[in-house]
Structure formats: C-alpha cells, structure tokens
Symmetry: C2
Subunit: 457 residues, 2 copies
Amino acid sequence: MPLPTALHEELKNRFAQRYTTGESACLQHGRDESVHCPAPPDAVVLAESTEEIAAVVRLCAEHGVPVIPYGVGSSVEGHVLAPNGGVSLDLSLMNEVLVIHAEDGDATVQAGVTRKQLNDALKGTGLFFPIDPGADATLGGMAATRASGTNAVRYGTMRENVMATTTVLADGRIVKTGGRARKSSAGYDLTRLLVGSEGTLGIMTELTVKLYPIPEAISAAVCTFPTIEAAVQTVIQTIQLGVPVARIELLDTLSLSAINKFSKTTLAEAPTLFFEFHGSPAGVEEQAQTVQAIADDLGGANFEWATRPEDRSRLWQARHDAYFACLQLKPGCRCFPTDVCVPISRLAECIAETQADIAQVSIPIALFGHVGDGNFHLVVLVDTDNAKEMEEAAWISRRVVERSIAMEGTCTGEHGIGLGKKKYLVAEHGEGAVEVMRALKMALDPKNLLNPGKVLP
Amino acid sequence: MPLPTALHEELKNRFAQRYTTGESACLQHGRDESVHCPAPPDAVVLAESTEEIAAVVRLCAEHGVPVIPYGVGSSVEGHVLAPNGGVSLDLSLMNEVLVIHAEDGDATVQAGVTRKQLNDALKGTGLFFPIDPGADATLGGMAATRASGTNAVRYGTMRENVMATTTVLADGRIVKTGGRARKSSAGYDLTRLLVGSEGTLGIMTELTVKLYPIPEAISAAVCTFPTIEAAVQTVIQTIQLGVPVARIELLDTLSLSAINKFSKTTLAEAPTLFFEFHGSPAGVEEQAQTVQAIADDLGGANFEWATRPEDRSRLWQARHDAYFACLQLKPGCRCFPTDVCVPISRLAECIAETQADIAQVSIPIALFGHVGDGNFHLVVLVDTDNAKEMEEAAWISRRVVERSIAMEGTCTGEHGIGLGKKKYLVAEHGEGAVEVMRALKMALDPKNLLNPGKVLP
C-alpha cells in the first residue's frame, strides 16, 4: 500500500536520497533476525537529527501513517516489522557520541550509536559500557527492548543504565526525560516508562547512559560439569552467596559442540559455565576461589583460567559466537527464539523440565544463557518451510514460556514482546495491568501510529 | 468540609472503629515533619487489606472525594496533607511481612511495613534490606517517594529495589505490576512508573523488594578534613576510582557540634566523612586502604576505624541522629527541608556556592548528606512564626535548587516533590515532559482523586 501522495511528496522533497520506497530497502527494513515473516514498510527515511525525526512523526501523524523506528534490525521478536505498513525511520545515521562525562561516569549518545561504537569511543577514558546483547545493536534499540546480556548480573540491564532520554512523542513534540543526577525523586519516571516500550510510546533519539570504571583486574574461567543440573546448582549457590560475579553463563553440550566446530576451539563438549570476575587483583582471586570451591563440590572439572586479555577475549569470543555457531548446526535454518527468565531458585527445575521437552522433539535445540539472572535461551533450529518443525518449535516455545510464568518468571528476559510474545502478556501480568498499559498507550499515542501492533495484545 | 453523608455512613458502617472524623486524628493525618501548614483530611480510615483499600477508593470515587495514602507521616514535602480534604487512608495496620524468599533474595510485604520491621523479620536469613531514609518510614511511603538514604551509593534507591507491586487504581481496580524475575522485557514498566508517583497514580498496597546478603565483613571509619572542599574531593575521587563503598556521608562542622551535644559523643568538630565498606575481609581492607590514601593526600586526619559491630553502631547512630541533633540547635524550631542532588563532578562547586549563601543569612543551617550520590541536605532551622526567618529559608532553598538544576542536577534527590517542590518541576524537566506526566495522570486518575495537588504543578 503506497503512502498518501502528499506525504510521499513531502518526505521526498525534504529527505531526497535519504527517503526511499524501493523494494529492497523496504524489505530490508521489514525483517529481523527471527522467524517472523517479513512485513515491509511502504517507505524508509534515514534520519540525521532529532528534529528530522520530529518532522517525520508530525507529517505521518497528519496523514495517519504508522512510524516504525529501526536501528540495525537485530531484533528477534519482530519489533522492526511493519505489519500495518508505514514509514520505517532508520536511525543508523544518528551515530554520534555527543558527550562523554568521564568524571561522572555517563555519556550522551544519539540513539543510532551501537554498543561497540560507544566502547570504542570510551578508549582511553578508563570507562566502559557493560550491556552486551548478542548483536552489536544500537543503544536506541537496546533501550527500546530493555536489553541486557552477559554482564547484567553485575551491572544491570538497560532499565538500570539509561539515565535520560530525548524523545519524540507521537505528535512530533520533543521532550527530555530524566537527568544526569545519580538519583532523583522529581516526578514520574518517564525514562523507565520509555525504556522497554519498544517504540510504541515515543521514539528515543538521544540517550544518557551510565558508564563504569574498567576493573583493575579481570579474570575469566571455564568449567565443565557432569550434568546441567550440577552447573545450575553452582550458579544458584554463587548468586545466593552474594559473590559479585560479573558474568556467569551456561552452555549445554550441543552449544559447545557447535562452538568447537564454528570457532575451531577444543573446549570440552559438556555442560559448561563461563565465568568472569571483576575487581581488584585480590578481590578477583578471592571471588574465583569461592566459586571454584562451589564448583568442586558439585563435580566441576577442567577449570581453565584466563587472566591475560587475549585468552579472555578468545574465551568470550567463543561464548559470543554461540548463537551463530548453533545456526550452523543446520545450514539454511532460522532460529525460533525463546528468552525466559525465572527466580534463581526455580532455575534448575525450569531447565530440567525444558530438557525433558527437548528430548521429545526432532529438531536440534541448544540451550544457553545468562543464568546468573535466571535467564536462558533455547536456540530452536527450524526449516521455516517445514510445518512439522515449526509446530515443534512453537510447542517448545509455548511450553517454556508457560512454565516460566507459572514459576513467577517472565516470558522474555531481554528480547522484548514485539510481535512474538504479545499472546503471553496477559498471562504474565494479568488483564488489569495490561489494561493500564493500554491506557498509557492511548494517552501518549491516541492514533496508534508509533510502532503499531507491537507489545499490546 | 464534611464528607457527603452517604459516604460517611457507608464508611462508618463498614469500618466502625477504624473510621474516624475526630479532630485530633484528622489533624495528626494532615501534617508531616516539615514546615508545611497542616491540612487535615475530613476523615481517616485504617485499612487492613488491599480489598478494603479498593473499597474505600471505589466509594470515594463514586462521591468525587479525594483519597490520600498515609504511612507514618515522615514526609518532609507535604505528601500526606489533604489540601482538598478527603479521606486519609492509613496503611499502618497493613504491616505484615507476607513472604521472604531467602533463596531468591526478595520479600513481599504489605505497604505499611517499615524498613526496620522488615530488617527485624530478616534476622537469621543472612539477608538485609539496605534502603534507609532518616525516619523508620513504611516501605509503601518509601516506594511512593522513591526514597533512598545512606546505602544508595552501593545498593541503589527504591527505583532499583522495588520489583513488583499490588496497586489499587483510581477506580478501585486491583492490579499487579512487575514480577519476581531479576529482569524482564515484558511490557511497560508499570512498577517504576508507580515508584515515585507519590500516591497520585495508584495506591501501592503490597511490594516485592530486593534483599542483599549481609556482607561477610563490614568496617566503618570517620575522618575529618581541614575544609569541606577537601572532604568533597575525597568523595569525588573515591567514586571516580570505582571503589564499591557502601556508604559515604559528609557532615559539616555545625552538624558535628550538634551531634556531640545531642549524642554525648566527642567527635572532632570539623568537616567529616563517615564511610562504610562491605565485602570480604580482604576486600574491605583493600577498599579502606584505597580511600585512606585518597583522604591522606587531601589532608584527612583523625581516621577512626570501627570494625566491631557495637563501635559501628555507635558511629552510625551518631550519623542517623544528625537531623534530630540539628533540630535541638534551636529549640522549638522547624526544619525547612532541602534535598538536592547533582552530578558528582559539580558537587564541590555546588556546596561551595551554597556555603557562600549560608554565610549571608542569620538562621543556623547545617549541611550533610549522601555525597557519594551527589545528594546533600541543608537543615535550615526556622521559627515558622518569624517572617524574616521564613523568607531567608525560602531564599536559601530556592537558591540551592536553582543552582542544582543549572548543574544538571535535581530539585529532590530522595524526598519527593509533594507540595513543596511542584514549582521546580518544569524548570527541571521542561514543560514538554511535565505535559507527558499530566497526560499519564489524566489517563490513570481522570477525576484527580488520588492524592490531588501533589507532584504536578
């Protein structure tokens, strides 16, 4: 469905080569990394400033046309798809690190800056930005989906680390939310309402995020376990003891096997924990000893330590490759994403029951995740043209989500609701809370033009 | 103004002795710890359950009568006052610790539970709840004002530590928000919208909060400095180095003098930092050495260490007494509260300029605060019947707030907006953001019956 002619002309005049209705650009902006069927927008605008975004939103509002913000398209829940058509607002050109306040530990960036780009810009400051979802996502996209990653157990998620935003509202007004003070009791927390709202309440165009001193000492370790249960018990005891571990990641045997093939490593193919400890040299040593003692008691073996930066990088590169490595287990397949998170006391039970489900299906399914938070993923590999495989994937996904909600957990620890998890929102939060969400959406976007069809069922 | 007769009769029948229109009860519920003129409600209900609160809210909504939630009345910004009359809903009987999940580090409590009561209930679990505003406030009140205290630099504020709520909406509906998973990307963050909303968007009746392992080792220290600037520089360098200090509190000479008189201590009467370090024995030792080296460089002297619990308690009791000790400097006076917070890099400048203001007025003003977060208070002592003193107090308060906002800080770090800071909300957030807040209020409380007159200008 083409855009209204008047809107088309206005956008074309204003944005020239940064506006397109070309099929390939629209298709590229209408798909993500997941199994969701592509749904291309009618046009794409490459915005270069908050004011341009405000102008696009205002024009689209006048014509009743949806606007879908787009970063790098690394969503796995269909966030960037345009099921109702409209304009995809690509923020990738808004990639300037605006200011680094090293002395206060914060930085303000345009929303199209990616996490790696920010960390590159921080070189020499002694600071880093810890949040690391699998992809090199934009900070805008990460804020919109309340993303996290491997460091969240120590440093929190985007919820804890976005301090302020510049946001374009549904009618094109530009507002600032939050501020640079470390704490404030001044008024409603608009920043945290926007974080996780997936572009449905406003389009975040600039973000102020917290930074952290690079630890004086870092050490990493890998340890294998006789069973996945033993590995999970090690995690639970570590967290319950309050060890301030920076990262604690679980990978199952299939994941290790995929990593060895993909990354040419020779890691033991068994249930494995990857650890990282941050602190002073003595503090890191002490944390590591505590965790090793817990692991020893639970049958952990083959502890491999990495304190040199290159050894740590090699280890963590292997961990970061896990997703892509698993995709190679079945060439040409797509990944059906799952992303549950449960209270840590239920994690062993949740994983055990999920493994029993996995044993019942024909498709390969790898399990790994950020278990220090109680969060894990299944990499469910499917041929999207194979109805039986898609059915099995949907069954596994539904089962693990329903199990997690029943265990007082969540249907998504870090991927967001998007299109894929809308059906679970009421089960998780209750009809009452979802009605409140609808009332907020109605208050801030009464015409339902900001990323319509996402989040709310 | 009495309540409508039908409402009066219904409340009287339903709540019997837990309903009163008595003058003394209404007056008690219509004043707080601050200089705000009392504004009594027309009636008080002592609620015992979420369902009772829902019933009161529903009845009041039918009659267009305001409802003002009340905990222990320790607000210093007029939150519990009833400027438009209505029913004060006292939650102090809702003081049950409902469940402690020691293995997950969280607890669910009724909103009338106080912070000390929760910590008493945690004895034997190895866990504690760190947020400690000056008063033994209720957790409901603390959540409503986004409170913090001395431990926030390490453990965060109520913003970071409320995981879930049960909330009664303006029409009497009961909703649950958030959950027990450590992280979630599932939908709008209603919990953080309610935290800090000061009872204007809903009445939180139950809360799930995070708990922390009691550190293996704790040590405290006091150190005096030749100038307040030297003390503040010590704080700034400590924070910038990333030392995970648990508490770092500044008190000026006048505060120390007041404490010595009130608490019969013999602390040096000079600008002073109180520290507390949490961790393993070696970690605590290391943190303390780092901080002592910084302090030494800046002329810190008389380092006094306290590792025995009784010595630590004595020190921190002195710190906690500071507010009441200062009140005794001028018997019969009231305190005009201030509560600013700035980015740490601006803290020295902010305090120095504020001291220059203090030198210009006749009233005694003590300065202390949670400087690790950039947050400090002035205890401005006034005779509320003395117009000149009230004028000086208002001038000091306005100056420090405007200075903090100009330094990208906030008009309230932890007390909330209430009645007292409404006039600064636009200066801090801009008209656009305040309009968004108004739209949210309108969406959730269209009749403006939940704590009307608070937060929004």
